[in-house]
Amino acid sequence: MKDWQYRLAEHRGTLTALFIFVVMFVIYTANHPAGFTANVVQTAANKGVLLAFVAMAQTLVVITAGIDLSIGMIFLLTNCLASWLVVGTPLETAFGVVVVLAVGALCGAINGAIVIYGRLQPIVATIATGAVYFGIALLLRPFPGGSVNENLADALTGRMFGSVPASLVALAAVVLLVWVPFSRSVYGRAAYAAGSSETAAYMSGMPIRRGKFLAYTLAGFVAAIGGLFLTFFTYTGDAAYASGNAYTLFSIAAVVLGGVSLFGGKGSAIGAVFGALAFRTIGDLLFVFDLDPLWQPLFQGLILLVAVSLGAFALFRVRNRLEWFL
């Protein structure tokens, strides 16, 4: 295989996600009454980045062959916390942002510690920690409310240079400052290796525990960035159980659409980001075609079901039936 072919194969999932997103977005804007304007792009971006952050967080865990079912609850918890702390003078606001991000990272680190050092199954462990995080969110905000530093919120949800949505710039910055350094570091490679084959990675002396732990922690951190942005968009904190669950669910859909293997070891957060944007655009397609919004949950569920079923095509490549059973 030539060098460029190899590189193409490596990024096929990400490129497919990019392609799906572009096609969906073109259909969306072509049918939108307002057309392709800065306003339409900004609204779409603001809706999309929330899921993109959560999906990026989910990717970090999924590449280690784990899953984080508490990610939506970390997102809610940081949203509720931000609605208390990210207010007041610039200094207080900055302090609030730091605390919110630290709490998110702490939540992720707790998940990581329980899964890696406690040796529990990620599914059950994160469902349980998710309940705890939701409980704390509910303690912080029994009723929707609170406020946020509106100058900061407007700056980060508005437009830069007149046309580029600031939220997209922030998303790109997080990808460049968190994902790229991580995935290229020794620990990032260890996380990939652990997802691909934990035993082999262990035998090769890779720092799999620290790699996985870092992945879980960063997942909480990135989810907290998502939670901050939710606060910037809504100006309130709201511990809504259904919303947290929906974000967890959609993050998995976005990860799958983004070409990240749920068995671990394969895929990129950039793919998941495009997967998230594509998933949001598909959901919004219903509106531009004037369908009843009641159909949206069903439509999104079906997309998810079809997306996860697509993975089954790999079965046709299986030569030996014993490979069915991993």
Binding site: L298, L304, V308, R321
Partner: protein, 323 residues
């Protein structure tokens, strides 16, 4: 995997330490509760708890079957709601509908379970993912069906009788239903080829396949049974409350998994007894009851739930270290 009980003498060897721990915790909770109020040890209170536990017990039975396979069923919330809503919906179609209300609700649950089973067994999608997806689809269908509100149809007399009535005065019918389903489960798991196959697949699907078991069919059936039992639990709940509600199933996913896992069933599959699940269900129900008697707000209950599950799992649910 060697059992920790290998060297213990006599009667202790026959019991899983997890099951004993769970029963120990039940007694501990009752004793602690009785310090708070005398009423915790009265027969009325205990029967009431058993009645509340029965709904969870029916749902947890299906969950246990799936967990024994080493899989998980996250579609419980909306399977419960679907079972309840469809059973109530059937009741609106005359006497035939009323007669078929419960079977129809169960059938809808079995259909959801079949989709799960086909996805897991034949398409080899991780169970966690496919059940999350079918949960979303079931939710979508129900939202379209009800128009986003709680449905107006009410439960049939049969559903109410099964859930809230008492054939023998003092002992609610739903306790009998749980007992019958539990007995059937014990029989199936211990005395039939299907049950043995479930344990075999949970231990090592590859080995089970090589010994000539049609593993894919067994997995599919197990998911269908789990869906059916969830829906039946939903129909009973609808009978108890005399109607179905949008998010009635949300409160059953975590407790069902917790009950099974706290009862000593390995989340990795292949190991666990129904007695443990019974203990887990009663333990969770008592915990809920005591927290609500102490007027703990929802937030505190969620936190305590999560913590109890993580702590109990850390005590005896850990995977072996990688070597």
């Amino acid at each position: 995997m060697t059992r920790a009980t290998d060297r213990k003498p006599g009667f202790l060897r026959r019991f899983d330490p997890a099951v004993l721990t769970a029963f120990g915790c039940i007694i501990l909770l009752l004793v602690l509760g009785s310090f708070y109020s005398r009423a915790f040890l009265s027969p009325d209170y205990l029967l009431q708890q058993l009645k509340v536990a029965s709904f969870l017990g029916v749902i947890a039975t299906g969950m246990m079957l799936v967990i024994l396979l080493g899989q998980i069923d996250l579609s419980v919330p909306w399977t419960v709601a679907t079972g309840a809503m469809m059973a109530c919906a059937a009741a609106a179609y005359g006497p035939v509908g009323v007669a078929l209300a419960i079977p129809f609700g169960i059938l809808c649950g079995v259909a959801i379970g079949l989709v799960n089973g086909i996805g897991v067994a034949y398409l080899r999608i991780p169970s966690m993912i496919v059940t999350l997806a079918t949960n979303a689809v079931a939710q979508g269908v129900m939202v379209v069906y009800t128009g986003g509100f709680s449905p107006q149809d009410s439960a049939t007399a049969a559903m109410r009788y099964l859930a809230a009535g008492a054939l023998i005065p003092g002992i609610p019918n739903v306790v009998f239903i749980w007992a019958i389903i539990g007995a059937a489960m014990v029989f199936v798991l211990g005395r039939t080829g299907f049950g043995r196959a479930v344990y075999g697949i949970g231990n090592r699907e590859r080995a089970a396949y090589l010994s000539g078991i049609n593993t894919r069919r067994i997995v599919m059936i197990a998911f269908a049974v789990s869906g059916g039992l969830s829906a039946f639990g939903g129909a009973l709940l609808a009978g108890y409350a005399s109607k179905a509600a949008q998010s009635m199933g949300d409160a059953y996913l975590l407790p069902a998994i917790a009950a099974v896992v706290l009862g000593g069933t390995s989340i990795l599959g292949g190991r666990g007894s129904y007695l443990g699940t019974v203990a887990g269900v009663i333990l969770i129900t008592l915990l809920q009851s005591i927290l609500s008697v102490m007027q703990m707000p929802e937030a505190g209950r969620q936190i305590i739930y999560g913590l109890v599950i993580v702590l109990m799992l850390l005590l005896y649910g850990r995977a072996p270290a990688s070597r």
